[in-house]
């Protein structure tokens, strides 16, 4: 008896020494890292757990708590399937057009101002980036004015005047119904292509100059060099930007600025601009008793993002990471 006690005591002392040694070796690191550890716990991990928890209830998170189990997750595809159908179709449409369009246009823009043939390309790079310095709300006000639709042809916004000038009928743009509403968002997004352009330019800078010199010796022209060197060598950046813009576009909530009302961001007919990010916002903050459902919707969004990212990674054979990679 006596023996074991001293044994366990010795073990305890040893363990204590171990802890002390661990602390002695590592406390500086953990101390410096403390803000992150605490921050991640309080502002990320606890909220994530809490979100998972409330997604299983029908609740306003104040005084109404009704256990629902997985009903909130089932609800998306049953009771709420009509609206979810619209929302998912809109989100899909937005992502599938907006992402490739944005990537291709900004890539072309970068290729244009990456030439060494003319003087002053640097000035143009800055000019192209300037629209990105306009805050989203300011640009929403601006585009609402440019795209203004009125019955009186004289008071139309300038874009409609241009349409009329070319013999077309004026458009209601984002205030319209059907797919043309989201299409005007593509238009607005392209205006910010300068942001993507900067990313591509930095990718071009990282390409080994020796490749171009070798191609020059072989007598390759500009187009050939672009197709056979620039594009393949920037595939890692293409892949990175593709993933980032897909993830960003799925979460897009910008339509909140283009359509007001008690449930904002849905478009003039209540559905033409309605996307998943906005639906989560509305369900979270505009319909008080539906917070459990809102949390479930957010987890659904995470699952969609995870699945799409996984597919993109699985099909990323076209990305060229250099010879040794």
């Amino acid at each position: 008896m006596n023996d074991t006690r001293t044994g366990s005591g010795r073990l305890l002392a040893k363990k204590k020494d171990g802890v002390r040694k661990f602390l002695k070796d590592n406390y500086t690191g953990w101390l410096f890292n403390m803000p992150l550890t605490v921050g991640l716990l309080v502002f990320t991990l606890i909220p994530v757990g809490y979100s998972l928890y409330i997604s299983l209830w029908s609740t306003n998170c104040i005084n109404i708590w009704q256990w629902r189990g997985f009903d909130n997750y089932i609800r998306m595809f049953t009771v709420d399937s009509r609206e979810m159908g619209i929302v998912l179709l809109n989100t899909f449409y937005y992502v599938v057009v907006s992402v490739p369009l944005g990537l291709v246009v900004s890539y072309m823009l970068a290729a244009l101002v990456n030439n060494s043939m003319v003087k002053g390309v640097k000035v143009f790079r800055i000019l192209y980036y300037l629209p990105c310095m306009i805050p989203a709300v300011a640009s929403a006000l601006l585009w609402s004015d440019l795209m203004r639709f009125t019955a009186n042809p004289a008071t139309q916004g300038i874009l409609n005047k241009v349409l009329v000038l070319f013999g077309m009928s004026p458009s209601r743009w984002f205030a319209g119904e059907g797919p043309s509403a989201i299409a005007s968002l593509f238009f607005i997004n392209l205006w910010g292509a300068g942001g993507g352009m900067l990313l591509w330019l930095s990718a071009f800078k990282n390409i080994d100059k020796g490749l171009y010199e070798a191609a020059d010796i072989e007598g390759a022209g500009r187009v050939k060099k672009f197709l056979l060197i620039t594009i393949p060598m920037s595939t890692p950046m293409i892949f990175y930007n593709l993933i980032m813009s897909v993830i960003g576009s799925i979460q897009y909530t910008g339509t909140l600025m283009y359509s007001g009302g008690p449930l904002p961001g849905r478009g003039s007919d209540g559905q033409s601009l309605y996307m998943l990010g906005v639906k989560i916002y509305n369900t979270s903050f505009k319909i008080p008793a539906a917070r459990g459902y809102a949390a479930a919707l957010a987890w659904f969004m995470l699952a969609v993002i995870g699945a799409i990212t996984a597919v993109l990674f699985k099909t990323s054979k076209w990305v060229f990471y250099g010879e040794e990679g």
């Binding site: 661990f22 070796d25 590592n26 500086t28 690191g29 953990w30 410096f32 890292n33 803000p35 992150l36 550890t37 605490v38 921050g39 991640l40 502002f43 909220p47 409330i54 823009l109 244009l112 003319v118 800055i126 000019l127 192209y128 300037l130 629209p131 310095m133 306009i134 805050p135 709300v137 300011a138 640009s139 006000l141 601006l142 004015d145 440019l146 008071t155 300038i158 205006w191 900067l198 990313l199 930095s202 990718a203 800078k205 890692p236 950046m237 993830i247 799925i250 979460q251 909140l256 600025m257 007001g260 904002p264 989560i280 979270s284 903050f285 949390a295 957010a298 969004m301 995470l302 250099g322």
Partner: protein
């Protein structure tokens, strides 16, 4: 090398070179033209915004008005500050920004230092967790955070935009700082280590001053992020008497203009909101572009 070309061959070469030169000139002209057209298209909305902000109320209403204001109405800028609530909005926005301009660099460099320069058990695990949270959509945490903030009385104050930034201010900034700090040679610190300087002294005296380039980038990004953010204020500042940021004020005007504020005054507000970031970009252009390069994939 021997030159065996006779005169006719020389002529032919000369003509060929001339043709190549003409071709190059044409290509240059075409590229210039294209670049100018694109610049005009991209900059036209900016110009439109400025012109509208200088018009009188009659001019913006009149369907037959000129595209240019007759006499620039700088009074619109005074009006938007006076009656549009922009003065208060500006002050609140600047309070949030100034706090974060100190909080984010300080906390993010402490964390960055622990990842880049200190050796401790759990370091790579923490780094992986941090990078993992970058992928987490804000939609998952926004509702629980809203409820937590409502329980501790943060709603309708500036606290949701300031307090969380004491804890690093976001994985992207920390990641950039770690990348930068890894490039600082260890020899610089070794000498101080021999002299008995502790980690905090080495961080303060040696590493932090060298981080100036990346910190300039982080600070400008922090400024731009909080200057233009309307979504956070839209979620957390809903009460009528809450401190409203500039972006939220403008957002409220665009979605519900029940006060009937004229577009020329609103445009003056939008121009003000755009001019400050543009000036910042003008000053810190080099750092901003280099920051993009740092943030992008290497190699």
């Amino acid at each position: 090398m021997t030159f065996t070309a006779n005169s006719s061959e020389l002529d032919r070469l000369e003509a060929q070179r001339k043709r190549a030169r003409v071709k190059k000139r044409c290509l240059q002209a075409a590229i210039y033209a294209l670049m100018i057209v694109i610049a005009a298209i991209l900059l036209f909305p900016y110009l439109h915004m400025i012109l509208k902000s200088l018009m009188t109320a009659e001019e913006v209403d009149s369907p037959y008005g000129s595209y240019f204001p007759k006499t620039p109405q700088f009074i619109n800028y005074v009006t938007v500050f006076d009656t549009g609530g922009y003065a208060k909005g500006f002050i609140w926005t600047m309070i949030i920004i100034l706090f974060n301009l100190v909080a984010v660099p300080f906390s993010a460099t402490l964390i960055g230092y622990s990842f880049a320069k200190l050796k401790w058990k759990g370091r790579s695990a923490m780094f992986a967790i941090m990078l993992g949270t970058m992928m987490l959509p804000a939609a998952v945490t926004q509702l629980p955070l809203y409820i937590i903030f409502s329980k501790i009385g943060f709603l309708n104050t500036v606290l949701p935009f300031t307090v969380p930034n004491l804890f690093g201010g976001g994985a992207v900034y920390i990641f950039l700082i770690v990348q930068f700090m890894r490039g600082i040679p260890a020899e610089l610190e070794n000498a101080a280590k021999i002299d008995g300087a502790n980690a905090f002294t080495r961080y303060m005296r040696i590493v932090l001053p060298l981080c100036k380039p990346v910190l300039v980038y982080v600070m400008v990004q922090v400024f731009l992020a909080y200057w233009g953010d309307y979504y956070g204020p839209l979620v957390y500042l809903t009460a009528a008497d809450s401190p409203k940021t500039l972006a939220l004020i403008l957002y409220n005007f665009i979605t519900d203009n029940s006060s009937g504020t004229k577009i020329n005054v609103l445009m003056a507000g939008a121009v003000f909101m755009s001019v400050i970031p543009t000036i910042l970009f003008g000053i810190f252009q080099r750092q901003l572009i280099e920051g993009v390069t740092m943030g992008g994939l290497k190699g």
